[in-house]
Amino acid sequence: MDVLTLRNVVKRYSNHIAVNDVSLNIPKGKIFGMLGPNGAGKTSLIRMITSITKADQGEIIIDGEPLNANHPTQIGYLPEERGLYKKMKVGEQLIYLARLKGLSQRQAKEKLNYWLEKFDITSWWDKKVGELSKGMQQKVQFIATVVHEPKLMILDEPFSGLDPINTNLIKDEIYEMNQKGTSIIFSTHRMEQVEQICEEIALINQGKIILEGNVDEIKNSYKDNKFEIEFDGKIPEDLLADSFTILEDSDKALVIQANEGHDSNELLKGLIDRGVQIRAYREILPTLNEIFIKKVGESNE
């Protein structure tokens, strides 16, 4: 079952098409990465899912139902552009935002107590948001996003502006929410975070999805037969011939690419047969960053 299905979704603005015929399935209970360069259409897509704007064409289906007025209370949205009322107190503000998400005054108070205790910030209740530092405000905003226990959480660049300690804190919370069954869409252009956190991704460029799938599968399908070998002794020239190419050569390690029609087993066997002492062997998979740059470059052409 998918938590979110997009079918041929289109969003046009006066001079350009922000989302161009996007179809996508986001499985339930996963952390899904939505990647793309600035201006790719991520925010436009998210705004349609969160009912902020309406799609010009296509269907948005959440948990089996077409998008309707009840869905906003089941979605938690942390926008890239963070925003809170500066002059309002933390407690009042969180209660207000939680109640707009359908919680009663009492429920909101209970849930918020839980979260403020968890983040060890109960003393902030009567502070005005404007008196808090940026990082502190981000924590408050994160609580506002999760307090109503949404089925689907959409986090747009959730770590921007956070120090490493708070980044880890929020990251742990995201994992915990996911463990409890919340589906998460994580939108960013920071590839290393996606690699760490997400199981599935979709890569968007110029309003279209140009790559989609499981992170490991994508990496495997983009691997280009590169290996790193550490060994004692000397590489026999005859083994390399035209089967393998040396990309990097340092004293004790080589980065080798297998040419068309050859594989790593052949290399290993050759080395062992020739009595080379192998100390370490590793396949080098492309990083998402490399795939991202390559694919975006291709699709822009």
Binding site: T53, T73, Y77, G83, K87, L97, L100
Partner: protein, 442 residues
């Protein structure tokens, strides 16, 4: 969804009502006004605390009989020369000497000298001047050899009394016109101020949410229209609350003030008036008569019709302009001052309505007044001004209907600009873009 609107109204209302600015303007403003009146009243009546002995030196020979002492001034007609009187002053027998110099009957001006190191209080001064007005007049009448009787008949009091051609039960007097224009003017002024003050609060509130970027979180929970309406209504309620508190406070304070200071100063004013001679006393009677007539006029106004209509125009006028201001706040960029052009467009009809309204005070039945009290963009200010002058029912009806239709249209229009504008970060929108937004679907 309705519960969301009430949540929004609640936030808009309570954050404002609990703010320091609201408490200051709501409670301190009337206290300040009352305080100023109290101080003024005290200063004006203070002079009469101590008895003052004043010598009158009549070098002109005009005083026949001294009027009674007023304002605690004890007057003595002296015949001693000034030098001796000044000795008396130094000894403390007198607090001051009023010297009446020789009178030139051809001069319409006359200066009296007051010898003292301690000047007279404001009310005392006018009492002293009033003392001799009648004497000087009589003196000049005799000197010119005029007939007092004919003279009294020269001054003619002219009044214009309108008389209806059509037969009506209600008699129109000139008092009617005056009462209704003062009433209309005051109501129009208040409406204009309310719309301007609270309308621009709506604009700033909307723009604040846009600059804060909190609007994105909000409209992922509620519909933009709900958010806009909630804000407009919440701030409108703040306005109503403030006016109600002002009304209560001013009533309470004026009751207290008039019992403590007011009556005292009223008496002295009455005394002053009667001191100005026979004519003034007559005027005083006339004043009393006028007050009675004004009260009668006020009682004859159809309050049961007018007060609900005042409320109607207050609400409609506020809704119209507040939703336009909300659209401006949404269309403005991160610096609201850049939105001057947009604000001006909204303000122009309001200011025009105010000026037309003020002219309608004196000419409630001119064609400009009539039409601008029916055309909805100006009607909320102009019609209330005309209401006290009993405009024909068809005009009121037409005005009410056109206002209702127009306010629905304006809210729709504003909401369309609003929902696009609040998500457009950065630069302010041009008029061309606004036009596009209105017809923009989705």
């Amino acid at each position: 969804m309705n519960s969301n609107i009430s949540l929004i109204i609640g936030r808009e209302y309570w954050t404002r009502v609990k703010s320091k600015t609201f408490l200051l303007t709501t409670f301190l403003a009337p206290i300040g006004i009352v305080f100023v009146y109290a101080v003024l009243g005290y200063l004006l009546t203070r002079g009469s605390d101590k008895q003052k002995n004043i010598a009158i030196l009549d070098n002109a020979g005009i005083v026949s009989e001294l009027a009674e002492a007023k304002n605690n001034l004890v007057l003595t007609l002296e015949t001693k020369p000034l030098t001796e009187l000044l000795e008396d002053y130094k000894e403390g027998k007198y607090d001051g000497i009023v010297e009446l110099p020789a009178l030139d009957i051809d001069d319409s001006k006359y200066s009296i000298i007051y010898h003292s190191d301690d000047p007279l209080a404001l009310d005392e001064e006018s009492t002293v001047r009033g003392l001799f007005r009648k004497d000087i007049r009589n003196f000049k009448v005799q000197a010119f050899g005029l007939d007092q009787n004919s003279l009294d008949k020269i001054d003619t009091d002219i009044s214009l009394n309108p008389k209806t051609v059509k037969e009506t039960e209600k008699e129109i007097s000139n008092i009617t016109t005056k009462v209704s224009s003062v009433l209309g003017g005051a109501v129009g002024m208040i409406l204009f101020m309310v719309i301007l003050i609270f309308g621009s609060q709506v604009m700033r509130g909307v723009n604040e949410e846009k600059i804060n970027r909190i609007v994105e979180v909000l409209i992922s929970s509620v519909k933009p229209l709900d958010l806009m309406i909630g804000k407009v209504l919440g701030i409108g309620l703040v306005g109503l609350t403030q006016f109600m508190i002002w009304g209560i406070l001013l009533t309470v304070f004026s009751v207290i003030a008039s019992s403590v200071f007011g009556l005292g100063s009223m008496e002295t004013m009455g005394d002053m008036a009667s001191n100005e001679g026979v004519k003034a006393v007559m005027e005083n009677d006339e004043v009393k008569g006028t007050i009675m007539k004004v009260l009668k006029e006020l009682a004859s106004i159809n309050w049961l019709l007018i007060i609900p209509l005042y409320f109607f125009y207050f609400i409609i006028g506020y809704l119209m302009y507040a939703s336009l201001f909300a659209a401006v706040g949404a269309a403005a960029g991160d610096d609201i001052n850049e939105a001057q052009a947009l604000t001006t467009v909204v303000m122009l009809p309001l200011i025009a309505a105010f000026y037309i309204g003020m002219s309608a005070v004196s000419a409630p039945d001119s064609s400009v007044s009539v039409w601008s009290s029916i055309i909805p963009i100006t009607a909320p200010v102009v019609m209330p001004i005309r209401l006290a002058t009993d405009p024909p029912m068809w005009q009121i009806g037409l005005s009410v209907i056109s206002c209702i239709l127009f306010v629905v249209f304006l809210i729709w229009l504003a909401a369309r600009i609003y929902r696009v504008g609040i998500l457009m970060y950065g630069k302010k929108a041009s008029f061309k873009e606004l036009g596009k937004w209105i017809f923009y679907k989705g």
